[in-house]
Symmetry: C2
Subunit: 406 residues, 2 copies
């Protein structure tokens, strides 16, 4: 200790950035003990000044100040976005300074490249906080379940949409009302598109799927469906059918080595472990070929849980000076399977008056009614998605909505 102190710089003094400073201060003893060396924040990069802030003296506006200081060995990039964050990360890694980040957008887009750059410069690019907040899911896949062939990840990785669907199910409110409540509580942003349309979950899945396979699964090759079309009525049928509706990500490696990756709301049987992951909580089920299923559950967002994950990355960097710890994500593109070719059951909600046509289109299904009997729900048999979609579209306005079933 002492001479060998680990000095870090925090890039971006927003919610997560101030969280990182707080975690490193409050858990200084634990962190230094685990790092094997004293860890302290030397610089905080931000465009703004923070007069009166207890860390005012650490604020700098010029990234070069950090780059020129050889004492700084680890940077925490918690700015978000792909503009300056990408440039700063490349410059730091090229100079052999490790970078720990919560920036899922940047990791999803340039993770493979940045990992290769870190490896070439004997430093680390770490991103535990980019998926699942404080849940150590990246470490589970990267450094804990290392004797497993990971066959699938199935998870709830977006707290905002999970909160909205939980609220709709528990209180019988519609999507707009639940969204409004989520916004009032700060769980959803004023412009909620990234959450409710699935882009946020898609980035996280891109990262997990890439780590699972070791090849790049880019976001634009992932099938994404948001939750905005899920209705109060759908949730009522889910309850009757003893299911929950959950905003899922699915990543799996198929027999032929191709990857199935999709983001969509699913009906999930109540006895499935993910069915009980409610409110803003996240949960990820990892399926290994030896282990079977293991689930990781916790707060997927929030200042301190996310900051704690960034700080855990700092500890790992401190413990492995000059050594690249993670390097299992190549730039080669993975072969991505077509969702239309996959098989599963589907839920259809349709007008009661057209029941005969609907049952004819999906023979052997299980039918459910609500009290008013104006519509009905049908759970199809297992079928190929392409065939289901053809049947569904063929029914025109006899059908009101559809959901996949896990």
């Amino acid at each position: 200790m002492g001479a060998e102190m680990i000095k870090i710089a925090v890039l971006g003094y927003g919610v997560v950035g101030s969280g990182v400073v707080e975690v490193i201060e409050r858990n200084h003893a634990e962190i230094s003990r685990k790092a094997g060396d004293e860890v302290s924040v030397k610089y905080i990069l931000d465009l703004r000044d923070f007069p009166g802030d207890p860390h005012e003296d650490k604020i700098v506006h010029d990234f070069d100040r950090i780059m020129e200081d050889d004492e700084v060995s680890v940077l925490c990039e918690v700015m978000g976005g792909v503009g300056p964050a990408y440039q700063y990360t490349k410059r730091a890694l090229s100079a052999g300074k490790s970078v720990c980040t919560s920036n899922k957008e940047l990791v999803a887009m340039h993770g493979a490249e940045l990992l290769a750059l870190a490896s070439a410069n004997h430093c680390n690019y770490m991103f535990e906080a980019s998926v699942g907040g404080g849940i150590p899911i990246i470490r589970a896949v990267n450094s804990a379940l290392t004797a497993e062939r990971i066959q699938a990840v199935t998870g709830i990785l977006n707290g905002t949409t999970n909160y909205i669907l939980t609220k709709m199910a528990k209180e019988g409110v519609d999507y707009c009302e639940a969204l409004k409540q989520a916004q009032a509580l700060g769980y959803a942003e004023r412009n909620p598109a990234a959450d409710v349309e699935g882009a946020d979950a898609c980035r996280k899945l891109a990262i997990l799927a890439s780590l699972m396979t070791g090849r790049n699964v880019s976001t634009d090759r992932i099938y994404v469906e948001g939750i905005t079309k899920v209705s109060r009525e759908d949730l009522e049928y889910a309850r009757i059918a003893e299911m929950a509706v959950k905003p899922l990500v699915l990543g799996s490696v198929r027999e032929d080595g191709s990857v199935l990756a999709m983001v969509a709301p699913f009906m999930v049987p109540l006895d499935h472990p993910l069915a009980r992951v409610d409110d803003v909580f996240n949960g990820v089920l990892v399926t290994g070929n030896m282990l079977g299923d293991a689930m990781f559950y916790g707060r997927g967002a929030g200042k301190l849980p996310t900051a704690s994950a960034v700080a855990a990355d700092v500890v790992d960097c401190a413990k492995h000076p000059g050594k690249t710890v993670w390097c299992f994500w190549n730039q080669e593109e993975a072969q991505v399977a077509d969702v239309a070719d996959t098989q599963r059951r589907f839920f259809v909600r349709a007008r009661a008056a057209q029941r005969e046509a609907v049952e004819k289109a999906f023979p052997g299904g299980q039918v459910f009614f609500r009290e008013d009997r104006e519509d009905f729900g049908l759970l199809t048999r297992t079928m190929v998605e392409r065939e289901f979609e053809a049947g569904y579209k063929g029914l025109g306005d006899a059908v009101l909505s559809r959901l996949r079933v896990l």
Copy 2:
């Protein structure tokens, strides 16, 4: 690769030992990729011969053969027990050979000493498989949640007793019938004492509590209560009160730095994440001061999940030659808190005829009835355990059973 191959020896060719050989063979590509080097089994130590076994040529009967072979850098000790396993482990570590184990008895008893020995000899003593089978809970505490002050672990760490209590709750059978079924399915041993009396869970808690605090929490200082006294009637009341009965381990660090460690059946509210961990599954809730609660869930036992955890330790040893990775468990004894001083709610089942006396002893409790009304259930207010016990004992045979409430 090639010249630097990692050669290992497996000590004990029983269920877990043959699992380790199988995992390393079947997932050879993944394991070697993660280890950064080819991993292969060179010796299997067992007293028996295995004529016709595909690995017959690797069987040796003499531990010295392994010790004398400088190519062998990692040993998997999956023999169990503390006799020869302890001696072999000490000899291996003293010679700088790393040891990975599933032997919770040995880790609970001599973990601190063996970690110190590993550290002194620049090698590793690793025991992911000793707690929670394939669930990477040791890594979560040791190497993932490294920026957290871990305040508590609350978990179901014994699959046998969880199976028995789940069976009793779901099918209304009594303890003996559920135990018989567990034995028929191979979930319980012919002599089930280590599971049902809590010794197995106690060892696992000793390991977790020691890692949490960094000081030694030995098994004989942990409060242990088995599940043998839990009755069908208790489970019926639990259902009425919207609770489950679960075989828990509790470890927490108190304000004064002392550790509370106990193993006992608890009533758990149904909306608690552990209430849904059923059958032979394990689950551990880790509470960190930044993260809040995170839960880890999966198969806590079984040949391949356990072997997968041992093999993950081998990967870690291979990745860190000459470096001790885990060393946060000192031989200094932790200060252990007295369970009698802790506060919580309790459940009491008592004879209906003596209701007045029971309600007088526990004023302000919540009363529940079953259909026959011969007995009743009472949930007390929060009270100090010592006072509860005094009140409970004072009621003599008016009371039939009691359980703690989480």
